[in-house]
Symmetry: C2
DNA sequence: TATTTGTACTGTGTATACAAAATAATAATA
DNA sequence: TATTATTATTTTGTATACACAGTACAAATA
């Protein structure tokens, strides 16, 4: 009867569908900061009742993506440059921790996965659609995250990364920077293969630093206009 | 009419009351890991309907304090030693970041607040009720957190600290360690006053280290029994 | 006896109903 | 005309209702 084991696994409560949808919309900027999230309107638009909407909002609230005004409802939290630099400050510190832990703990098979991910990224840069490259970049860094074997660290880093979702493409848009990115990835692979903590850390700090510059430049440009 | 401006401010939706209640109960261990959170039962016990209960559970879910089993409901997440060491690993890294940022950014008036908090803590250690000391310890470290002027960092650190809520008293229970704690606090005050990043960082790392030892000892003792 | 089928029951997932607060709009008054 | 009262309207906060999945247990069947 094996043939009928179709994966009907993908069960998701409506609240989680709504949660992910709203989350993505906020991070993409489709829902603008300050915009009110009105339950009935959203419910109608998404073809569900208020209940799943409200439960999704509870999660967004805890994540800080929406703020609640008592008896007035939820509105999209506005992200200031300060918010983002705060995130970047924490993130770069934790990225440093992650790469150091990874250098200590990475398993041999993960090194193989890392090499593959590195190659994938390089190839993806050829694609005119930058999102392809962005995805492969995420995948590469995910391998490093997982090599830390610290679930909590991974969770926080993923969250911080998502906070910057709408800027994630910035550092890939300029093809002139691609060779450097590839080189840094390769250096990371090398350093991790050699379990060289210091080298890996140094490369990573540089790697992150340029991404941050790109993001901050972008923010400031946005604010000017 | 000033006289009647009694702070009726403290409006809290039921969902948040429920959230805080459950959260505290889980962190204290009153709700045991693996225990099911059944909505009607909780609703009856707390004298509310299922709705606020469910919304509170959504937040607990995102925080990782409960895990959802599809169509079966929520149960209290079990915290393993691995979970806690993961938390500690991240926390000590971020405490290091925090103290360094604080050393760079602390304002003069915050140094005064810090000195006061330091004294409060010392006095509180005389109290036979260790929770008093714990509170003052939290207050002291809060001043340092705030001195970082990084809201996101503060939020994450507060969260990590709460994860260890049930172990927070361990390092205060042995009076023999009190002099060292006080000394370290004083050294932190000194280093921060002098804006000496390296010194502050060194003291903090030591300070955290011993707390971690106490917590880990406690966990292992719990697991043995 | 072992296995299946049916049935009742429990509890979640979602929708709807109702009450109270906030806001906007309109009428009334000085 | 400006300002206050009054009334609708909108929207949240909370409670309740209903449908369906999951489970346990008993009856039926081989």
């Amino acid at each position: 009867m094996k043939d009928f084991e179709v994966t009907i696994n993908e069960y998701l409560p409506l609240r989680d569908v709504v949660f992910q949808t709203l989350r993505r919309a906020i991070l993409k900027g489709e829902l603008e900061p300050g915009e009110r999230l009105m339950e009935v309107a959203l419910a109608n638009k998404m073809g569900v009742s208020r209940t799943p909407i409200r439960e999704a909002i509870r999660k967004l609230e805890l994540e800080g993506l929406v703020i609640m005004i008592p008896r007035k409802g939820a509105e999209v939290a506005s992200i200031t440059e300060k918010d983002l630099t705060d995130v970047l400050e924490v993130r770069s510190s934790l990225e440093k921790l992650a790469i150091e832990l990874a250098a200590e703990r990475i398993a041999d098979e993960d090194i193989e996965r890392l090499k593959a991910a590195c190659k994938d990224f390089e190839e993806a840069l050829g694609d005119p659609d930058v999102t392809v490259g962005a995805e492969k970049d995420v995948a590469f860094h995910d391998v490093i995250y997982e090599a830390t074997h610290n679930a909590r660290l991974i969770q926080i880093l993923n969250n911080l990364r998502e906070q910057m979702y709408r800027y994630r493409l910035e550092y890939l848009k300029d093809p002139a920077s691609h060779p450097q990115l590839v080189r840094e990835h390769q250096e990371l692979v090398e350093a991790l293969s050699a379990r060289n903590k210091e080298a890996a850390s140094a490369v990573m700090q540089n790697h992150i630093y340029y991404q941050e510059l790109a993001v901050i430049r972008k923010i400031q440009k946005q604010q000017d206009k």
